[in-house]
């Protein structure tokens, strides 16, 4: 048994929320990160996140929702996003985004692919697969940068462990609505 149209629309709209937040976070980081090579990395990935959000927004429309319909992620996941967005060190930003947030997000996307009907929901599957490819490309670019300048990602191991634990604890990306609250588009 796959997911209902409403449930799929809610998932796609939530993924869109996350990609927009990532786009905005990277955008804020560009002027406030000193290292030129890192600015350029974040700048390139603003566009990756924007394209992902755009594709999800169009897919939401196909699932009987408004164009670019967006639903906030679960509170716990938003806290992780907020915590990462508030970091100011280059190494924390790099490690937190590329080593923790993106792999975690890939996990949520893969869960969606496992849960949905690959034929019935093939357009969503294509969109999500393309986002997974984007994520791989982003992480490859980050790893290439680290090979060039390894010191960029030197962080306090305790900090890294803490954010990784906080992210891993977010088993649900999609908000579970309280009774009576619609979890799906109007």
């Amino acid at each position: 048994m796959g997911m209902s149209v409403r449930a799929r629309a809610a998932a796609i709209a939530t993924f869109r929320f996350v990609m927009v937040r990532i786009m905005e976070m990277l955008a804020r980081w560009v002027p406030s990160t000193p290292e030129m090579e890192v600015k350029v990395l974040f700048g390139e990935h603003i566009w990756e996140a924007a394209q992902a959000a755009d594709a999800l927004g169009h897919r939401a429309f196909e699932l009987r929702s408004p164009l670019h319909f967006t639903l906030p992620a679960a509170d716990g996941y938003q806290n992780v996003l907020d915590g990462l967005a508030g970091t100011s060190g280059t190494a924390e930003r790099l490690r937190g985004f590329y080593d923790v947030l993106l792999p975690g997000l890939e996990r949520h996307f893969r869960r969606y692919l496992e849960a949905t009907d690959g034929l019935l929901d093939a357009p969503s599957v294509r969109v999500v697969e393309q986002i997974l490819q984007r994520s791989t490309r982003m992480r490859d670019a980050y790893l290439a940068l680290l090979r060039e300048i390894p010191r960029l990602a030197e962080v306090d191991p305790a900090w890294h462990e803490e954010i990784a634990r906080a992210e891993a604890a977010q088993l649900e990306l999609i908000r579970v609505p309280p009774p009576g609250e619609a979890s799906t588009p109007p």
Partner: protein, 271 residues
């Protein structure tokens, strides 16, 4: 007495946005007199040109990136244009840095200025930023690059000339989407025009305040000249591609004192 605003600085009496973050290897200056521009195409002059252009592209990236976070309610399609611009600017930075290194240069080799960031960062509407950054600064850059491509080629550096031509093609799109969106935003809300007018006034005020004195030299002894006397040839063909109207192009030509040549179609290749 008011506490100083941590987000702004004051230069020659005008209040400007504080600089974005830069690595310590970069020396950031405020005035043309502090720059290290050389005339001609000596090896040092070439590296300085590339280095200066590279920092301008970093600034273009920073300004474009700041917009989606400062104006989250902007239309999604416009935010997409800005996100795409971010990617373009990152490619330009990489290209210019690669060429700089090939020519023996390095990051921080020469002083840099963040004039465009400092001005646009003071503007509180997206329309004003598009008008100043994309429609004015980037369009001006389009004029300059259209000319300097020929300088590089004449100096026998086809590789740099080709790179600049590629960058120019991207810049046309950045100016074009700004022109298109400014018209749309002004049509939807005529008050946008007042914001744009105020932004252009601010730019004029800052430019006048930071203008060099007559006969002033820069830090390496090159005469700076009045910026108003340094208006480059107007790149008419590319301004057309960038969605400037014929009236707007005529106005730019008028402001340039008609020292510009007529469009290529009427006058042959750019000199």
């Amino acid at each position: 007495m008011n506490a100083p605003n941590p987000d702004t600085i004051e230069v020659r009496g005008v209040v400007l946005r504080r600089d974005p973050a830069r690595e310590p290897c970069f020396m950031v200056v405020s005035l043309d007199s502090e720059m290290h521009e050389w005339p001609g195409m000596s090896e040092q002059a070439r590296r300085e040109r590339l280095h200066r252009h590279m920092n301008n592209e970093i600034g273009g990236l920073e300004i474009a990136a700041q917009c989606p976070s400062d104006f989250p309610d902007a239309p999604w399609e416009l935010r997409m244009e800005l996100a795409r611009q971010c990617w373009d600017e990152t490619r330009h930075v990489r290209l210019l840095y690669r060429r700089l290194v090939e020519l023996g240069g390095r990051k921080g080799e020469f002083p840099v200025s963040n004039f465009e960031w400092r001005v646009t960062g003071m503007l509180d509407s997206l329309a004003a930023r598009l008008a100043v950054q994309n429609r004015t600064f980037e369009a001006g850059q389009m004029d300059i690059v259209g000319k300097v491509v020929d300088d590089w080629r004449a100096a026998g550096d086809e590789r740099t000339a080709e790179m600049l031509e590629g960058i120019l093609a991207d810049e046309i799109q950045h100016v074009r989407f700004a022109n298109t969106w400014l018209r749309r935003l002004a049509q939807d809300d005529p008050r946008v025009l007042m914001k744009i007018a105020a932004a252009i006034r601010l730019l004029a005020t800052v430019t006048a305040a930071l203008a060099p004195e007559p006969g002033e030299l820069n830090a390496v002894g090159t005469p700076i000249g009045d910026p108003r006397e340094r208006v480059p040839m107007v790149n008419v063909d590319d301004r057309r591609l960038a969605a400037f109207t014929e009236d707007e192009i005529r106005e730019v030509l008028r402001q340039a004192g008609f020292r510009a040549l007529l469009p290529r179609s009427e006058s042959g290749p750019r000199a």
